[in-house]
Symmetry: C2
Subunit: 323 residues, 2 copies
């Protein structure tokens, strides 16, 4: 999958919609190296992380969120961002169209990312006040104030900014989250200049009706599915059904994590992301183009599972590799 003409995805043209209402192709935003590893208890050596990212690119993934420039005190698993990023930042020369976004929490993080030559960044906001306070130590409004100059400076530097919005469906303290509340925060992130908004079901409680309702609320507010991505966690086994629902609503960018990284299947709470392999299996079956070589990807996840010291929580990885 590495030696090919630029695809429509790489050229950035809009995604066509098929007669059955599904997108003809889906851009997978692979979050395994960042969202996946940051939620795993095992900290991997930087060499393994760099090889993981290179193998994901070789398997055909064209958006691989590489790491996070958050303070190491908060996410020790990604404390090696300064060492890791230079090891992978040359990959786009080898794989045309490859993007390697990094998460930045604030202007200090942006400085670090820009210094290392990051071309894409992401910021991480909360749709609920409780999670904003607990995760960002400030109110939703204060966190948006913190992000505004980050987005502005990044955009001025020619760096695209993705906005993550967490707790879009349920919140462990507040319960179900009203779509209008999510839309209000999401619109602010887009107004700052975020080019894409990723709607996160951080605790995995959402179901397909909520997905439809939230996407309808965004649409009613003038934000169409072409500006949205979905980001599901498989805590209650709902991630793929929710993703299918979002595709039917016109979304064509889906976040997932190779091998379902992000939650140990043996631990109390298996809060892993949607596994990229389970997603690709469905998309392949539906004839939706992703550019991903599923066998190479599953083999990568099985290899990484060896480094994690446990089987992959992805059902497709286990079925395909016997891992």
């Amino acid at each position: 999958m590495t030696d090919h003409e630029p695809t429509v995805l790489e050229l950035g043209l809009p995604d066509p919609v098929r007669a059955d209402g599904l997108p003809a192709r889906v851009r997978i935003h692979e979050v395994g190296p960042r969202d996946g590893l940051q939620n795993e208890s095992t900290a991997l050596p930087v060499d393994v992380k760099a090889e993981f990212i290179a193998r994901l690119a070789a398997a055909g993934l064209r958006t691989v969120e590489a790491t996070s420039f958050v303070h190491p005190k908060w996410v020790p698993q990604l404390a090696d961002a300064e060492e890791l990023f230079p090891r992978v930042s040359g990959l786009p020369a080898e794989y045309p169209g490859l993007r390697l976004p990094v998460l930045v929490p604030n202007e200090r993080g942006l400085d670090r990312a820009l210094t290392l030559g990051a071309k894409d960044i992401a910021v991480f906001a909360s749709a609920t006040e409780t999670f904003a306070q607990r995760n960002l130590n400030r109110s939703v409004a204060q966190s948006l104030e913190m992000f505004a100059p980050v987005v502005e400076r990044a955009t001025a530097a020619g760096v695209a900014v993705r906005g993550y919005l967490s707790m879009c469906f349920g919140d462990p303290w507040e319960g179900p989250v009203a779509p209008d509340q999510v839309v209000a925060v999401g619109r602010e992130l887009l107004a700052f200049g975020c080019t894409e908004l990723s709607l996160g079901d951080t605790i995995g409680t959402g179901t397909p009706g909520q997905v439809e309702a939230l996407l309808a609320a965004f649409s009613a507010a003038g934000v169409g599915p072409e500006r949205l991505a979905v980001h599901f966690h498989d805590t209650y086994g709902q991630a793929l059904a929710n993703t299918l629902t979002a595709l039917r609503c016109g979304v064509s960018v889906v976040d997932s994590s190779a091998g379902g990284l992000g939650g140990c299947p043996y631990a109390k709470s298996a809060t892993g992301n949607l596994a990229t392999e389970d997603l690709v299996w469905m998309l392949n079956g539906l004839g939706i183009e992703t550019g991903v070589d599923l066998a190479a990807l599953a083999s990568t996840s099985a290899w990484l599972a060896g480094h994690m010291g446990r089987p992959s929580p992805s059902r497709a990885v286990r079925a395909l590799t016997g891992a």
Copy 2:
């Protein structure tokens, strides 16, 4: 959930369809004690099986496939059918509307089931020749010949017969299975007098487009979704997305297995059934009535997982119980 007026489900009235195209209620055909346990390497004591079935009924499930009257040589896990069935056959007196179907492979099995007072049976056919030969040791046509007198005699005795059809989407030897081939065998089972046809994705490879295509093929052949059930295995993580697709096509009977029994999550191939808890989580979120008490069900699966000596493969069970 055990002390209530008869519901529409119990009265056997047709299921209404909601404005969003989804059924207002779903009848869950719980297959854990039969399809689940027959595919587990651990053989449970008969006392544990009887308690499992009683707890499933207490959790609100109203169709619980109890066991199989197949020859013990082929399915040693269910060799205790003669001992188990009398221990649970009184449950419907306690839980009005409860059905306890049993699988019978042939007339000998039917004799055993009738002797013990079974009110519902199921027969098990294959959509593909290869699996018919390997699983039933005869051709598809020969297996249908074997089932015809079973269905006829059962029906004459006032016993309802469900027809299982396996390998409806993919076959490990034949690859993808043509919808017309499935429809042809399925129509014969219905013509014999089966009251319901359960379409099985025995190896779990199916994806939502195949589900739509198969249900459309049945509809074109005059078999509407009200006579069909779906039976998905989660081998590649597709079961819930496929189920959602079937619901949108008008199906309202769904097979699932408490705790995702039927495939060890640690074994080479995790071929478990769709977990009933993952299904109920989605249906609850969609406001679709099932009559199931999810907490009681998840607690039952966690209890059984203790007897199996391993955690439940159901994501919802792990999230809800910490098992």
